[in-house]
Symmetry: C2
């Protein structure tokens, strides 16, 4: 296992992160037309909008390392509870699976979040992704949609723009 | 309506935000034992961990304003998509409802997020909270759990600590 290592992502990893994120999105059946983020977006938004760690592999006899997995998250807050970590992505390339590398990534994310005072990790898993559910259940995540009824609502595209660009009805100072 | 106004929250609003957040959590049946956040936590974490706006009311003939509602959010990232806004709370005190103030709050949140380059707003609504679902559906939010199968998974308490505090199996540089 010593030919693998995990480190904080750097701006120059943006193209690798985008490549792996697209692999993951494809696997999650994300419609290609909404995948508009570019390498420049990823590089610009790293640190301010999200944090990421990358999994590197050093092939035997090779002097170079290849990025073969990543995890990406943002921090959030539940007012009466406190700090939490919102895991957006966790991915290991197919050829490198079955070695506990996904576990090492989530363990690293948990450690970083814990050290920052987070009290929980939250993530969204698609009900169709049985392997993801099995993985997270095995490491003691619980499905809060099933047990507590939490459902994800969202607004985007023209509906979001219309809401955002309306004339306010009561005074605002921002 | 001109006796209401909306402004960015300030550190000195922490006790009002916590009071309103507790009202909302009570309404959402959040178990009291997990409501551990204090006024000091809220004041410390404002700006770095979350952002908030407050709704003020100036009663006729009164020189003072009272905070009667708030919205609270953090920013997040979907790697292949881009920036998004995670709305954690939106609340208007019962006596002030029925005047479109909740709508003014969400419209303000949308405007702030849009101006920061967010492409969507996400939020979690409990399936038991029919009024919340009606409100968000009316203003064009869609239920992504129902239409796309996204479910919320989480880990917290001793399970989270155990995951975070384990000895890593592969080298890490953080």
């Amino acid at each position: 296992m010593c030919d693998y290592s995990i480190r904080n992502a750097r701006v120059e990893d943006a193209s690798d992160i985008l490549r792996l994120a697209k692999d993951l999105a494809h696997h999650d059946h994300v419609p290609p037309e909404i995948m508009t983020a570019t390498e420049q977006d990823i590089a610009r938004d790293m640190s301010d909008w999200f944090h990421s760690i990358v999994l590197e592999h050093e092939a035997a006899g090779s002097a170079t390392k290849e990025i073969v997995g990543f995890a990406l998250w943002s921090y959030g807050y539940i007012p009466v509870v406190g700090r939490n970590l919102n895991l957006a992505s966790l991915y290991v390339c197919p050829h490198h699976r079955g070695r506990g590398l996904g576990y090492s990534l989530i363990q690293s994310v948990a450690k970083i979040g814990y050290n920052k005072g987070c009290l929980r990790i939250r993530l969204l898993a698609n009900e169709s992704n049985k392997k993801a559910h099995e993985f997270y259940t095995r490491i003691k995540f619980t499905n809060s949609t099933r047990t507590e009824g939490w459902e994800l609502l969202h607004i985007y595209g023209p509906d979001f723009e219309n809401l955002a660009l309306q004339q306010p009805k009561i005074p605002q100072d921002f």
